[in-house]
Symmetry: C2
Subunit: 198 residues, 2 copies
Amino acid sequence: MPESRPYHHGDLRSALLAGAERTLREKGVGALSLRELAREAGVSHAAPGRHFKDKQALLDALALSGYDRLARALDSADDPALPLQPRLTALARAYLGFAADHAELLELMYARKHDPESAELMADGVERTVGLIGRVVAEAQARGEIVEGDPEHLTIAIGAVLHGLATFTAGDKSAAYASQHGGVEELVHLLLHGLKPR
Amino acid sequence: MPESRPYHHGDLRSALLAGAERTLREKGVGALSLRELAREAGVSHAAPGRHFKDKQALLDALALSGYDRLARALDSADDPALPLQPRLTALARAYLGFAADHAELLELMYARKHDPESAELMADGVERTVGLIGRVVAEAQARGEIVEGDPEHLTIAIGAVLHGLATFTAGDKSAAYASQHGGVEELVHLLLHGLKPR
DNA sequence: AACCGAAAGTAGACGCCGCCAACAATGCTG
DNA sequence: CAGCATTGTTGGCGGCGTCTACTTTCGGTT
């Protein structure tokens, strides 16, 4: 017998997201097609429209889950008891690890193409990560471990280094200098001590 | 009379690139369509195929011209006679300025989706910019202005800060902290002196 | 248990798109 | 001026995202 599938899929929304993430990882965002995803899920070409009003809506949902996982990864890598340098190193490791594992997803997350409503949720996700950095900065300042000055500026500086490096890491699939052999340590050290000789 | 256009356009290739860059700037890469560009140029929908084998080929050409202009901008902003700090500040300004003016283009340039042959040319363009940073680092080391160590690592660190900040700048169309009011100076200072108090 | 509205899936159509092949006009070069 | 490469044109293919109208199923109410 033709083993006919049930009329209702059960959890199509999740299946679509999962399939989308697989495709994203394997073939890049350009190869993502709602119809293809529908086919993979064994459902008609218009079914995805029931769960995502738009292709962009699906991408937004994907990005959102990315932010959630990134925030979790950073949170669980953070140990507030540590002195600044090892603490930052651990965070940097976590961030670069995420970037290496989810290059395309990270790109999606940083794409500034979300519709306004998802953008709010997005902003929330961003806040969870830059907020963490911000707290680290604030605490380090309180302990006198780093220079005074607008903590927001310092946060931006740290964020910029991390993000720039993450982009490089995600960019060349090869070797990714930074996440290997003491690369991270060296960079955090540089960030803390500066380029000028002391 | 219908003012019929000549059968040959004259310089369709350039017209397509120019139109593409306009669309890129105004509506983003997602809104780029070869057929639309053809319409704007007043030619038939298949004409672009004579000049770009692919849509990707057009994007590659665009990215390539971006690298060229970026390299020029950096070169002309660089003054080797300056001490490190102002020299870096000038370069950072130039890079961030480019990022602000050509956000979508920069994204295209960093996209890792080019076909292999264009990728070579791309690599050449990249080399012109990171090579410049590399030379700045090497000369600064020679003058004892910065710390010893693998110059490549230092170059990566500087590049990461610049690129991360450029992404932020390009990301939020508003205010872009860094390129305004002393933001750049402050960051370069941070980069040189580090976060730790001296 | 029967009903009924909402939720979830289907089928079909529309107008885009990129790309390809076959053909036509033009320009260049011998 | 003949012939060939270049650069255009038309038409068509299949895929895509999205919309509308229809159908099936689920779940809560009486």
